[in-house]
Symmetry: C2
Subunit: 348 residues, 2 copies
């Protein structure tokens, strides 16, 4: 029974939603323990049934715990990785849900003992409302969940995290941490800045009162990310600045192109809207394939977490996921070249 415990460090929107999903498992054999710097958050998570028990300290949360889930902003995760080693059991599996992955993998390698398995993760999910009050059992249903195992993590550890992901209804996507950060900057981090800029633009204008009266779902949807947790956003910008600046530059160029089309009027702007509608509708109707593990050898989501506590190993793990884990970062120069980033970080 020594390892039949899962700890959720950080019971905000993501941590509490994970807890709700784990707690809903039938005949579960593990205890869910939660801890949060904000006592109100952990109490709320307990009240919602997302955790069984509140830990009074990091030590209490980590002691005899088989699976540790760091669901905190990335800079806070660094501190926890620094502080955790004395309390972690040998063989413990540590995963996270942070929005950037390269730094956290580096810190895990730097601070965690070799006996601990770190498997990075990032669920591509969110809600307008942050904190445990926004949590939901189905937050991760069909969401992509990026998975970035450390080179030291063994297959069992990767299998447990895969099981966690699958049991929450999400779809795992193996990706190299540097690639993750580059692309997340485009589809997830830059959008935060867009939401913030659009909201500030209208809010700080003299027409705010009238404009806000007139605003509807378009303004609400496009500024949603401006209501995200500011610490999380700040940490994203701190740990992924270069890539975000790269995409911000591209967006600025794109807006300048749109401006020219608008000034010209007629065909250019018509073509822009027509081709973009076509491309986006195609993307929405046929989203890129994220195949679930399949075949007789595949772990089922029912078994995956359970095996954590019976010591089972997954065979042929690499066969059952769409991509093999990249254990060493790809050639960064190649990635930069692919993206058109010059060595000084500017866009070509």
């Amino acid at each position: 029974m020594a390892r039949s415990r899962i700890a959720i460090i950080g019971t905000g929107l993501i941590g509490t939603s994970i807890g709700l999903g784990l707690a809903a498992r039938k005949e579960r054999e593990f205890e869910i323990i939660g801890v949060d710097r904000d006592r109100n958050h952990v109490r709320e998570a307990k009240r919602l049934g997302a955790i069984d028990r509140e830990a009074g300290s990091l030590e209490e949360a980590l002691e005899n715990t088989g699976l540790v889930i760091l669901a905190v902003p990335v800079i806070a995760a660094r501190k926890i990785l620094q502080d955790a080693p004395p309390y972690l059991s040998p063989g413990a599996i540590v995963t996270d849900t942070c929005s950037t992955k390269a730094d956290i993998l580096r810190w895990a390698a730097e601070f965690l003992p070799e006996s601990v398995h770190f498997v990075g993760g990032h669920p591509m999910a969110g809600r307008e409302k942050s904190g445990p009050a926004g949590a939901a059992l189905d937050l991760f249903r069909n969401a992509t969940w990026a998975i970035t195992p450390s080179p030291r993590a063994d297959e069992k550890a990767v299998g447990v995290v895969l099981g966690l992901i699958e049991s929450l209804g999400a779809v795992p996507l193996y990706i190299d941490p540097a690639e993750h950060d580059t692309y997340a900057a485009a589809v997830s981090h830059l959008p935060i800045l867009i939401s913030v800029a659009l909201f500030r633009m209208v809010r700080d204008s003299q027409g705010w009162e009238d404009a806000s009266l007139l605003s509807g779902p378009a303004f609400r949807d496009l500024t949603r990310l401006a209501s995200g947790d500011p610490t999380m956003s700040r940490d994203i910008m701190t740990t992924n600045r270069e890539a975000i600046l790269h995409w911000l530059g591209r967006l600025q160029t794109e807006l300048q192109t749109v401006r020219k089309a608008l000034e010209l009027g007629g065909e250019p702007i018509n073509d822009l809207f027509t081709s973009t509608q076509f491309d986006r509708d195609t993307f929405i109707a046929n989203p890129p394939m994220r195949r679930r593990p399949e075949g007789p050898e595949a772990p089922s989501s029912q078994d995956a977490i359970g095996r954590l506590f019976v010591g089972g190993l997954y065979d042929k793990l690499k066969d059952v996921t769409t991509r093999t884990p990249t254990t060493s970062p790809r050639d960064e120069a190649e990635l930069r070249r692919k993206l058109g980033i010059e060595d000084d970080g500017r866009t070509r």
Copy 2:
């Protein structure tokens, strides 16, 4: 029975949703007739129960019709206003749902006979999916519906359109057409360009395949408007170009400020996220007041449309809405000054 007919010209997302709302009225005394350049759209609207009958021509749709709803892109509406006069009954009420209001008011004054009452309208509602297939009975529930009566429209006509708005569960907002276009450019039209620019930026990059695999709700929500009807978007840009260019310039400035904060790091970016989260949460929690008509004299949404056909007049109409209709455009110079637009259209 001569006037117990409502015509919906254009059975796309908005027109079909209006039809669904009208058709759901209990004990309705009117027929709903629909027409669309796209025969598939009007057949789909009929199949969904949004219209009772398909008209084969504009003439057939307008003949003996008391209320005409133009739910088409704004340039198409111009053509209909030009073609309609021979078929419109004296006393007919014409309203529209177009995204820009100044031009349509001008065209209504230019083309419609004095015996016809034009009351402009713009529901602030939308969905990812355009066309009748995206239509929904509750599309307008609690949505702001801008209302811009022409100076010639009488109180009864305004009352009927108010009744239409209220019976669909929306909240009317009186606004001057020029003001509408200026603020809609900020909260509704510029967001279309942002969605298009963000989608194109990622779609046209070499990393599209990986980035799209990783994309989640943030990318989906922020690019939603790129799936809007391209003709509608083009017409918006054509009829409201100056205001949209103004706000696009402001957004470009705002993004440059965000870039500087990001390059500096630390406090500036932290302050930006913290203050913006606070301001947006405040806006969402306490949206600006759009009071519904109240008091014993107020028309109820049950009665409003019904009275169209019994010839009732609303008394004290101006008392029951939050703003009195502005029958003459506000001093444009004042508006431009308020917004910081110089006479050459540039931002100060």
